[in-house]
């Protein structure tokens, strides 16, 4: 069985996905233990999208993500310590603890946040791409959002504006079939999301979001075209969220059998099976990757636990800029 990538690349992708998976499984534990509060939205099942997409971007590209963004931040290179500390609400978190799970920001890595308003990040990505175009760079803006955002006016307004001005935006739709608890078929007249791009003359494709190589290939192609002045693209990644929408979700709206069927074709199982079948990885290798991921996660939990709280005296800091940007 041949793989479309060299062993190192494939193992790297698996490492990324395992890191996300183990970080989030631990996050759920920390949530149950009361260490993480607020909303916690897990990405488990969807890891191939962040892993495949983010590494196809350059360090100078801008990223806008949603409240389900731990994976994107991690693959972008944000240290797990900073992510976990943010979820703990500590001063050493990536947003000084002010954002929590839904709001991971990193100026150095051009991560413009998890955005908690569905569709709210799309216009920002359009503006970030406009800045790149007006400055004459080859950088682009990548915008992740769920299929629920497609029902928002901001999706349509942003697609139109990006296409009208030929802006280098990648609209990366993570279609996990449920907008919180509302199935796509219960909320959209046209459930083939990529088909909506035609109305704006935007290039589009549907991609198997469980196949990390398919994600990589689609993003690479779309990014190349956008950098070359080809304007925006909409990629619809067909994926699935294995866990609840958030920690408050009793999942009354879907069958366990459906979840199980998707789990069987999950992105980590799929790549692991491919690598083993190709003779590029043994079970021992896999277990070692898992231990490495767990060690990093444990280190992050220790870091977050030991970290300091932001002083209450600093409550009102950063409401306004302290220095000119």
């Amino acid at each position: 069985m041949s793989l479309p990538f060299a062993r190192d690349v494939a193992v790297g992708l698996l490492r990324d996905m395992l890191a996300i998976r183990r970080l989030e499984e631990k996050s759920a534990e920390c949530y149950s233990a009361g260490k993480i509060r607020g909303f916690l939205h897990l990405y488990i099942g969807e890891e191939a999208v962040a892993a495949g997409a983010v590494r196809q971007l350059t360090a100078d590209d801008a990223i806008v993500a949603t409240y389900r963004e731990h994976g994107h931040a991690l693959v972008r290179g944000m240290p797990m310590d900073a992510i976990m500390a943010e979820m703990y609400g500590k001063a050493t978190g990536c947003s000084r603890g002010r954002g929590g799970s839904m709001h991971l920001f990193d100026a150095a890595r051009r991560l413009y946040g998890g955005n908690a308003i569905v569709g709210g990040g799309l216009p920002l990505a359009v503006g970030l791409a406009l800045a790149e175009q007006m400055r004459g760079t080859r950088n682009l803006a990548a915008c992740f959002f769920g299929e629920g955002a497609v029902a928002e006016g901001e999706f349509h307004e942003s697609m139109n504006l990006a296409a009208l001005w030929k802006l280098p935006v990648l609209f990366l739709c993570e279609n996990n079939l449920y907008a919180m608890g509302t199935a796509l078929t219960r909320s959209e007249s046209q459930t083939d999301i990529q088909a909506k791009a035609a109305g704006y003359a935007v290039r589009a494709a549907a991609v198997d979001g469980m196949d990390v190589f398919a994600v990589e290939a689609a993003v690479r192609e779309a990014a190349d075209a956008a950098r070359g002045g080809g304007g925006p693209a909409l990629l619809e990644f067909r994926t699935y969220r294995f866990r609840a929408h958030s920690m408050f979700d009793a999942q009354l709206y879907r069958d366990k059998a459906e979840v199980e069927a998707w789990r069987e074709r999950g992105p980590i199982i799929r790549l692991t099976t491919q690598l083993k079948a190709a003779g590029l990885m043994t079970e021992d290798d896999f277990q070692r990757l898992l231990r490495e991921a767990d060690a990093e996660v444990e280190g992050a939990v220790e870091f977050a636990s030991a970290a300091e709280w932001e002083p209450v005296a600093d409550l009102a800091r950063h409401v306004y800029a302290e220095t000119a940007p």
Partner: protein, 330 residues
């Protein structure tokens, strides 16, 4: 000696935009009809020809997308001036302004200031009926993270826009629709105009009128009429609605011992309510009379002239409110 330049409010705003475009390559203007049409209120007329399509950008009727794009472009290092035709349409962009522009700096721990300027026309007085006559300054002034200003003079129309562009925070600039044709003289260097801080527009000893925007000129008319009765009103032009200049308000009220707040917004939950509370909190024992308010009547602003006039805080209502106070404490 240079003759003072006599120009309109509209021209003053345009001068500020033009000077910014000339002096800073990061500045651009975008909004509905700002280019080919020349601006709904003709503020940007001629700028497309002068600066080109890249920097004077007509947008689709997508308030949320282009205001959000302005915020994104500011995050990306540019200095956008976003023109939302009127405050009425800005409600379609409220999500971007309140959920993104106002929060990102704080929520990112200071990593992402949002230096965007969002201009919009505001207010009634042109018989445009309820949906085109709103004054929602108080809504925006409610939100931490935003700066909200409303220039009411020619100098401020030019100078405050310049100051807004120099500010690293999101600034909402309200331009009263009824003032675009107002003529006046530029008397200050634009560079000396501050973004925040109230100003004493007219000095007086008997009562303080606290106001902003188009109501400044209603207060001026009222003060002239009051003067004929021997009542000297001091007028405070707030200029900045967030932050409010408590010190300037209290400095005046402590001397006059009487205050009337004149506000084109509806009374309930208004800026006038906020200012009244601050005066009571900070100067209750300095007052010789209850604080009074003259606000818009609580109706959707109607179309016919006589009803529109009756709904707005006109000079006669201000005069009556002041006269109701000056008997107190004598």
């Amino acid at each position: 000696m240079i003759e003072p330049l006599r120009i309109t409010y509209r021209e003053a705003v345009k001068q500020a935009i033009r000077e910014a475009l000339q002096s800073d390559p990061r500045v651009f203007l975008m909004g509905e009809d700002v280019g080919k049409y020349g601006g709904c209120f003709a503020v940007s007329k001629g700028l497309l020809e002068e600066f080109g399509e890249q920097r004077i950008r007509d947008t689709p009727l997508s308030e949320s997308a282009f205001v959000g794009a302005g915020i994104g472009a500011a995050l990306g290092g540019l200095r956008p001036i976003v023109e939302v035709m009127t405050v009425n349409f800005s409600l379609l962009a409220l999500d971007q302004i309140v959920n993104n522009a106002a929060t990102l700096c704080h929520m990112s721990g200071g990593q992402f200031p949002v230096p965007v300027v969002i201009r919009m026309a505001t207010g009634a007085g042109r018989q445009l009926a309820a949906q085109h006559s709103h004054s929602f300054e108080a809504w925006y002034a409610h939100v931490p993270g935003l700066r909200v200003v409303e220039p009411a003079t020619i100098d401020d129309a030019r100078g405050m826009l310049r100051a807004a562009l120099a500010c690293p925070d999101p600034v909402i600039v309200f331009e009263p629709i009824s003032l675009y044709n107002m003529e006046g003289e530029l008397t200050e260097a634009a560079s000396s105009v501050r973004l925040d801080g109230a100003r004493v527009h007219r000095a007086g000893r008997d009562v303080t009128l606290v106001t902003y925007g188009a109501s400044l000129w209603r207060c001026v008319t009222a003060a002239e009429e009051l003067a004929t009765s021997g009542i000297e009103a001091e007028i405070i032009d707030l200029r900045s609605l967030r932050p409010l200049d408590d010190a300037a308000i209290m400095h005046s009220v402590r001397r006059t011992r009487r205050a009337v707040i004149v506000d084109e917004g509806w009374r309930s939950g208004s800026l006038a309510a906020e200012i009244t509370t601050r005066i009571v909190e900070q100067g209750f024992y300095d007052l010789d009379a209850p604080v009074a308010r003259v606000c818009a009547e609580e109706v959707p602003i109607p179309y016919p002239r006589h009803l529109e006039d009756a709904a707005l805080p006109g000079a006669s209502r201000i005069v009556a409110a002041v006269k109701g106070l000056v008997g107190h404490g004598q």
